[in-house]
């Protein structure tokens, strides 16, 4: 999916604003740097590992590059994806105002889906709507459209505490995710926990190891210069330990996403967060 022209216009505008701000050297406003709010019972959002400049950039809706995806998602929300279909309707047709209907949704995903019979990610849920309710083709994982939709829907839960359900029908998925988290893999033979649980705060070369929380996903990752889902981050980490990554949207990664999201229970939803 190509980004509509408005996106590039907005980017130019924001760049201009950023340049003006830099030229006039407005100091970063102190009240935006509310670090104390971010650790919850020892759980630390990736936000707390960022430089003060990047934290300020994340907080500023005009400077945060992830907001381009949120804006595109907002447009897609009221767009009919395929007018040739009998079910042709936009998200608004069923869900109305996202600010109300989608509030809190991202905080509780991944979640068990009764219709599917297993735990699904927010990405799956959005694609299920597209296929079943809109008669459209599903977005590819990590496509501009899917990232825009997940970013927009997640944005409606901004600052709400992460709270996924891991008991009942989600319990098996959760336990599989937990097992994967502590399982060594790859040529380097490392588990997620080796770095993100046992060695947080230590450095790999210059990079400080975070807790690997996903309360801000999808995130704008500076290394990628684009948005990415939590599952893209899992695949990136798997590559780093020379392990064969699972497919995006696979049950393995969705189980892991549920467990990792639970690790960050209580952390505020930050989408679109900026990460290194």
């Amino acid at each position: 999916m190509r980004r509509p022209r408005l996106g590039s216009t907005m980017r130019t505008l924001m760049l201009a604003i950023a340049c003006i701000a830099a030229a006039t050297s407005v100091p970063a406003a102190a009240p935006t740097d509310d670090l104390a709010r971010y650790p919850v019972s020892g759980r630390r959002s990736g936000y707390t590992y960022l430089s003060p400049e990047t934290r300020a950039q994340q907080k500023d809706e005009f400077a945060n590059p992830g907001m381009l995806w949120v804006e595109q998602g907002e447009r897609l929300w009221s767009l009919v994806p395929d007018k040739s279909k009998a079910q042709a309707q936009s998200c608004v047709g069923c869900h109305g105002d996202a600010a109300k209907s989608m509030r809190g949704v991202a905080a509780r995903y991944p979640a068990f889906d009764r219709g599917e019979g297993h735990v699904v990610s927010l990405e799956h849920r959005i694609n299920a709507c597209r296929v079943k309710k809109q008669g459209a083709t599903p977005f590819a994982w990590e496509s501009q459209g899917l990232l825009a939709m997940t970013a927009y829907v997640s944005r409606q839960s901004l600052d709400m505490p992460v709270s996924v359900k891991v008991t009942g029908p989600a319990a098996r998925s959760f336990e599989r995710g937990r097992t994967a988290y502590y399982q060594r893999r790859g040529q380097l033979d490392m588990a997620c926990a080796h770095c993100h649980e046992e060695r947080t705060g230590a450095r790999l070369r210059a990079e400080v190891i975070s807790q690997g929380q996903i309360n801000g996903h999808p995130v704008y990752r500076q290394l990628w210069q684009t948005m990415g889902s939590a599952q893209r981050m899992f695949a990136w980490c798997n590559d780093a330990v020379r392990a064969d990554p699972y497919a995006y949207g696979s049950q393995e990664y969705t189980d892991l996403e549920l467990f990792v999201k639970w690790r960050g229970r209580g952390l505020p939803v930050e989408t679109p967060a900026i990460r290194r």
Binding site: Q187, L188, H194, A202, R203, D244
Partner: protein
């Protein structure tokens, strides 16, 4: 068609049947066997003595040893070092070559919980990416080179 496929298979396998020593290097069974004595591997893995200069390069290189990603070490040209592992300054005075060799070959023999990768071990790994399957992280000669280099850090 099946006959043709079988013929192709035969042709591709034949050289290994006739010349078993031409098996591709890096296959699991191609690892040089070694013997652990105490907390070390006393015998070198190769006949060619380790070269400390090549070992220094392999230790610094991010596609070979990449030691500096976790260990502070005395390599002035590297801009920054990780701190997950202990500093390697003086490691040649603290450990013998045999001890260094085992710690690089398979540190988990000494501490099963260790995060340090085994650099000369391929068995029992889970979901290794296809292009790294059945290959040790360093060759036997590179292990010897790195051991020789670390032994100089006194």
């Amino acid at each position: 068609m099946p006959a043709l496929r079988f013929a192709r298979l035969l042709v591709s396998v034949l050289p290994w049947v006739v010349f078993p020593c031409t098996m591709p290097a890096g296959a699991a069974d191609a690892l040089v066997p070694y013997r652990v004595v105490g907390d070390g591997i006393p015998a070198p893995l190769t006949d060619t003595p380790g070269d400390p200069r090549r070992g220094r390069v392999a230790a610094a290189n991010s596609t070979q040893g990449n030691c500096a990603i976790c260990h502070p070490m005395p390599i002035a040209e590297l801009p920054v070092f990780g701190n997950l592992g202990p500093p390697l300054d003086g490691v040649g005075a603290r450990l013998t070559e045999a001890q260094l060799r085992l710690r690089i070959v398979d540190a988990k023999r000494l501490n099963p919980q260790s995060i340090m990768p085994a650099y000369y071990h391929v068995a029992g790994l889970r979901r290794v990416a296809p292009k790294f399957q059945n290959q040790p992280m360093l060759s036997a000669q590179e292990i010897e080179d790195v051991v020789a280099y670390l032994a100089t850090l006194k």
